[in-house]
Amino acid sequence: MAAAMPSLFETLWRTHEIRPGLVAIDRVMLHERTGAAALRALEAAGRRVVNPAHAFVVMDHIVDTRPGRTDGTLMPGGQAFITETRAAARAFGLTVFDVTDPDQGITHVISPELGIVLPGLTLVAPDSHTGTQGAFGALAWGIGSSEAEHALATGTLRVGKPGAMRVMVSGRLGPGVTPKDLALHLIATHGARGGEGMAVEFAGEAVTALDMEGRMTLCNMATEFGAFSALVAPDEVTFAWLAGRRHAPKGAMWEQALAHWRTLRSGPDAAFDREIAVDAAEVQPMVSWGTSPQHSVPLRAAVPTAAEAGLAPDTHARALAYMGLRPGQPLRGLPIDGAFIGSCTNSRLSDLRRAAAILKGRRIAPTVRKALVVPGSQAVKRAAEAEGLDRIFEAAGFAWRESGCSLCFFAGGESFGAGERVISSTNRNFESRQGPGTRTHIASPEVVAASAIAGVIASPAELA
């Protein structure tokens, strides 16, 4: 009897396994926060980048996002990270997406835009959200700085094999329910370590029904599920999205790639180390209440007790003390001081369109002190401006920025204030993530937009 067709993850792993514990790496992406250290260490050791055409360097983490930006950063000393990374990357002959480059943007936004990630590839970057790119059926994961050196110098990584997990999402997401909500629902239900050590494949009707941007949002949040990486099997939606992208194969090579990519799916009897089933109809618009993405509830719910949240009392108490909340308090109606739309989770064109549709013809509440929208890339920014989205955001009172990671995290420069409550389309609501003492609630771009108008955490449905 023929062996069962393996899982997508197993196929990708076997294709790249040189010997147990040594895996071939097809693409390496670096950013300016750790790129200079990795490249200079290679140089000091007298090593070379084994395939410079497969390495890409992106300025995204600490670049300024204010209009008219230069190498200067609001982060003290940040400029050196940019200039030294640029110099080292050029010395090694690597492609750099520089501060003022028309293709610049967040790594996990521009890589798909440029066809750097492709189905069936292995791709690594020293960034924990690299699994975002698994939305294309690539095995993509975040690594440390020394591992980046290793991948550059050898074209391989020494890495233990993760487990295989499948999250099967049946049915369809309801109206107004987004991939971000699906991810928060999953993490709230199964915990921030629910996918630990696992390559998580998202499958089922609700996943295949998503466009590529939605799949990226879902895979992005698998990091907050503790996953090693995330995957969606590539399909015609994937192929149509990639066709003609700069680094995607062309002509006969495209046809050959397509034939390979069409085999990249889990067999009907594929073995998984763990499987989870989610009913899409049960997912509601979500918002976080605490200091972990696991601390999330439906928008219509109240702050849970420790028992309701399944948390140790001291963990629960610490989170609530930080957030300035008490159990039983409704999330809707909480006054906010700031709003942020951006990040590798929710900064793509469809995210901006959905937020703009809510903001159109409206103004943010005067009590919202700071509202930013940071497009994921220059390409997203241009496309949004061509549709007039920038004017909608600005008329509503949002600042329209240059692309980058921006206030997804506090890098020592720009921040929200201590004790300020911020509604944010980002991926992490950790303590002090967006500024020392800042209280972050993560949600979909729609909920961020609606809350900015209401001046309190609000659902788009309840806006007058």
């Binding site: 040189i18 069936g120 680094h247 495209w254 790639a257």
Partner: protein
């Protein structure tokens, strides 16, 4: 790349509280540059200096005492190197000249960071660590640690870690030893997946 290390006899720094985290080994604010060097002065900065800003030394901290200024071995407590995964902790130790850390237990990430930066992580029972004195000999051939009293204590290391330390290999050098297998894989892959190769 680290220097090969087979046997080392050196003064041993006694600083053995449990749970010494990487923030104690090097505080975040001491990681000023974009590289792996210039970190030695920040090693143990919050303990070593009365005033980290002026670098005024605390004479009570053992590293500031004549017997331990040239220490190359650190006698630590349990769960050493916990907290942030920052590799700067190992870089700072290596730059200061440390080649071994002897402790009852290690944080796993810090253990790996030690090996890849030429520092021998030696797991030894607490009472043995505290009884070693100074100087101490770490012998990777015999796989023993010998204290000032001349008594030798065996210890273990994963084979690959031992090879890396004895031959002065970092993981890259170790992998490059597999160059033939990698080249063979690449040749086959270029034929099987030519679309995956940009150059």
């Amino acid at each position: 790349m680290p220097e090969p290390l087979v046997r080392l006899t050196a003064p041993a720094l006694p600083f053995w509280a449990d749970n010494i985290d990487t923030d104690i080994i090097i505080p975040s604010r001491e990681m000023k540059g974009t590289g792996k060097t210039g970190l030695a002065a920040g090693l143990f900065a919050n303990r070593r200096y009365r005033n980290p800003e002026t670098r005024e030394e605390d004479p009570d901290f053992p590293l500031n005492q004549p017997a331990y200024r040239a220490a190359r071995i650190w006698l630590a407590g349990a769960n050493v190197g916990c907290g942030s995964s920052r590799e700067h902790a190992a870089w700072a130790l290596a730059e200061q000249g440390f080649r071994a850390v002897i402790a009852p237990s290690f944080n796993p990430i810090f253990f790996g960071n030690c090996v890849r930066n030429g520092i021998v992580p030696v797991v030894l029972a607490r009472e043995l660590v505290e009884g070693l004195g100074s100087p101490v000999t770490v012998d990777l051939e015999a796989m023993t640690v010998t204290g000032a009293d001349g008594r030798a204590h065996p210890f273990g290391l994963p084979a690959e870690a031992r090879t890396m330390l004895m031959e002065g290999l970092d993981p890259i050098a170790l992998t490059l030893k597999d160059g033939d297998a990698i080249a063979a894989w690449q040749q086959a892959d270029r034929a099987a997946r030519p679309w995956a190769w940009l150059a």
